[in-house]
Symmetry: C2
Subunit: 373 residues, 2 copies
């Protein structure tokens, strides 16, 4: 009785979709949990028992099975393979050096396009959290419908507060894709706004958070990219044909984000669609963000805990305590505090200053303490 072949639960809703998971970024605002040798995506930051990368691959794996490509730095190859043994043989693309998101995703696109010129790729960051997997699956399903029709499709997260740390997607008119009734034109991408602008976006309802999730035919992505960066596309397609030339050509690729290289100009040209969605999405960008994902301490209301609650003793305190040093952390009379304990370093700051934690990493590097970063 099913008349629409493109609904969740049917086998071919995601049949041509491959998930690309760019696993990069140092997560310096989450120091000292996140380190250059063990960055955010390799860490279990929510106490779930899985790293953010494992949780991401699990989530997309429920849609696409083993059609997952993780793109990460060579230096993380061993750690990633240990966490994802099922991908160790054929599911990893290893970058010789970091080049931001466009070369990473573009490389995967070129590989997929060579396998199947009609392949659809969905790009999902390795270090974000998504709480509502059903909503996620439905949003991705609709995005795939629009992507098959030739669009670059992004998921737009309905704002929960006037965030100044994210870019936004401005929603335009509805599109008419059969079986994908939520899809809208993406009128534009806008940079991280100042607070008054973010408040206007929140009130207006036409701006959604840009979560950096893109669904698009591999060939469409490369063609859109070629409009701005033809040389990069030639290099990426060459790499797909001759993977042994990786070291020779990788260094010539410019470090540029997919937003800047493709999404923004393509939106200007009317080629981008957006699926508005409530996913319980969080970028786990800093400790204030992380705090919202953690449970309250069973005895100490207002204190969010990462680690064993029995390692945390608080009085007249609120905030976040990460007890990852195997020691007891005691807070007394500190509101909105952030205490992050690890075996070799402890950070004490406040929710308000979470964005500035990356400056600590710079300071440590200047002091010659790369052992801690």
């Amino acid at each position: 009785m099913s008349t629409s072949p493109r609904t969740v639960g049917t086998d071919d809703a995601f049949a041509d979709l491959t998930a690309v998971v760019p696993a990069g970024g140092a997560g310096t605002r989450l120091w000292p949990l996140s380190r250059s040798a063990a960055p955010k995506f390799l860490q279990d930051l929510t106490g779930s028992g899985s790293s953010l990368l494992q949780a991401t691959v699990d989530r997309v794996g429920r849609l696409v099975g083993d059609r997952v490509l993780v793109v990460t730095g060579r230096g993380h190859a061993e750690a990633v393979a240990l966490q994802l043994p099922e991908l160790a043989d054929h599911g990893l693309l290893l970058e010789p050096s970091p080049r931001d998101s466009m070369p990473a995703i573009g490389w995967a696109a070129a590989v997929l396009e060579r396998r199947d010129p009609q392949a659809v790729l969905g790009s999902f960051a390795a270090d974000h959290v998504i709480d509502d997997e059903e909503a996620f699956a439905e949003a991705v399903r609709q995005a795939v419908v629009a992507a098959r029709a030739g669009a670059l499709v992004t998921l737009g997260i309905r704002p929960r507060y006037p965030a100044t740390g994210f870019g936004y997607v401005e929603v335009g008119e509805p599109r008419s894709h059969p079986g994908a009734s939520d899809v809208r034109r993406a009128a534009s991408f806008v940079e991280k706004p100042e607070l008054p602008v973010a408040e206007r976006y929140l009130a207006g309802g036409r701006h959604l958070w840009n979560a950096g999730i893109f669904v698009v035919r591999a060939g469409v992505l490369l063609d859109l990219l070629a409009a701005q960066h033809p040389e990069m596309v030639r290099t990426l397609r060459l790499l797909a044909r001759q993977p042994d030339r990786l070291d020779e050509v990788w260094g010539s690729l410019p470090a540029v984000s997919i937003d800047r290289a493709v999404a923004e100009p393509a939106a200007q040209a009317g080629h981008v669609d957006v699926v508005p969605a409530d996913l319980g999405w969080d970028d786990v960008g800093d400790f204030a963000s992380l705090a919202t994902l953690l449970e309250e301490h069973p005895r100490h209301a207002g204190v969010r805990v990462l680690g064993d609650p029995s390692d945390v003793v608080s009085s007249d305190s609120s905030g976040l305590v990460a007890a990852r040093g195997g020691r007891t952390v005691v807070t007394l009379g500190v509101e909105g505090v952030v205490v992050v304990d690890t075996p070799d370093a402890v950070l004490v700051t406040t929710r308000e200053r979470c964005q500035d934690v990356r400056s600590v990493v710079s300071a440590l590097q200047q002091l010659g303490r790369e052992d801690l970063t």
Copy 2:
């Protein structure tokens, strides 16, 4: 040519003086530095290289040589003997159980009285800091003069701020002891005051901090004590004659402070003198007090450091960082913070809440975490 035999520098200014150093008290407001098994007096809390006990014995030893008696709990005998090997044989009185300061000092007084009925004792807490050793020597010299004349003599510290954590001594009329012109009658002892009272004391100039330093003939002390506690004095004199009965009789002694048992009633009766003094005295009672004794971080103004400054990295912060855990401590945007890092516990609080640190120790005990206290 010397006509006064009782001046600093002459051999007999302190010839009949024995220093008694009660080494007790858990220092719970300095947790997690101070622990029940390694209390405050056994710790180097100022980074001087000596424990507070060692510094105290050094200081009084410069006046009295080896005439030093340390009174401490049996449980600390080994640690004290390790820190003070020169006292291990004959300089320790080991209490079977804590009984506050009066039984400790009274026991030493009985021992000294038995050796020499004219002996003068000076009682100096093991866990205070005195910065000005010359002023200390001169004040003690004058106190000895007054003690020889039969008074119970206390040193009164000129207040530097309206402290509510100390008792006060009210200064009365001058006494006329040859060679001890600073000595005054102590009109009364007053308990720790509320802030408005402490401010009045500071402005008025007639109230000095009671630093708990007493100089008195051993026999006079016991006779004054006998007025209130005759049974205690009988027991203490028995102990001096028959030290092997310690375990049998110690438990019968009431736990009472020397202030309550002797100083307050004796002041009422006009038997107490006071030597006003500026000693750079500090009781190191809590982390706010400790902070004033520490150096500022060479790179981070406003951050006082205990430990290796290279283990501390601060930005927009002030307060106290004790880096005693062998790890790097980073503070970012926290004013007036107190961070105390040790190998098994880290405390984060504020200067304002320092007095309440002892409540943490109670909380840990209630949680069955005596291993941390």
